[in-house]
Amino acid sequence: MDHGPNQRSVAARTVRVALVMAVAFVVFGASFGVLAVGAGASVAQACAMSLLVFTGASQMSAVSVIASGGSVASALGGATLLAARNAVYGLALAPEVRGGPLRRAIGAQWVIDETTALVTSEADPASRRTVFWTAAPILYAAWNLGTLLGALAGGAIDPHRFGLDAAFPVMFTAMLAPHLRTRAGRRAALFGGITTVALAPFIPVGLPILVAAFGMLFGLSADGGES
């Protein structure tokens, strides 16, 4: 039947990686909780947002707009732009999100930056499924636990001081490595990295990262080169 990697060892390895990421998720979830309550949300609202929205950048952006006095409409605008990339990730993760309606709904809810990065660094389809369904619930639990703790704690945590705002780019760097093995991957990566910074000052927050996705076309032109 299946001659691919042993799924039990893939799951064990995934648990180890996901637990490390979960620490960052708890801390960032907590800083979201702190910010949300500071912006006038109740603990229930902060927790509902993490449970139902579950996409950190959108949540942070919505809360920061409200905190600086923006309207609900403007908070939704930026958050919507940031949420749009999950549709692109969803395309890449569609094979993992198959099953009955409930399984598809839960799987879709867990399509975010980090699950996409973890899953797409695996080549074999069975391993991709294992990684998704192992890592996603751990990260989801961590994000929501963090939010609850942060919302309850208020302003006692300063993520900045501990360098935790660097945790995401650092994490993404480690996840990027497998994608740089092909020339196409390297070209797509180069396009994505430069575009995002070059456009940041000129277009609304959330849009540059969507433009970066077009790096895939830039990468295609280099196809055929496997080294």
Partner: protein, 100 residues
């Protein structure tokens, strides 16, 4: 902060996810499109890295995060384990902030 914001944003965010993962994604796709999709993470990850390191809203910034990123790049290149990469990257950022 209102329940309207929470619930509308939840609907929008979930809508995007379902649109990609279920509505569009679960049809058979042309080979070229599949090759494109495989390259998306490379482009998006570097986009997220540079965004999270060198921008603050719409402003370009160069701060302690850049050191953390540089350390992480070297650590990844040296094939150090995931946790070590994270600890070194975050630790060097915190250290620079403490010293500065």
């Amino acid at each position: 902060m209102t329940w309207t914001l929470v619930l509308v944003l939840a609907a929008i965010a979930f809508g995007f996810k379902v649109m990609g993962a279920v509505v569009i994604g679960q049809r058979t796709m042309p080979v070229v499109l599949e090759r494109c999709l495989l390259l998306i993470p490379a482009a998006l990850l570097t986009g997220l890295i540079t965004k999270d390191t060198f921008t603050n809203g719409q402003a370009l910034t160069l701060d302690a995060r850049a050191l953390g990123l540089a350390v992480a790049v070297v650590a990844t290149w040296r094939r150090l384990p995931f946790i070590v990469v994270i600890v070194l990257g975050v630790g060097s950022t915190a250290l620079l902030r403490t010293l500065a």
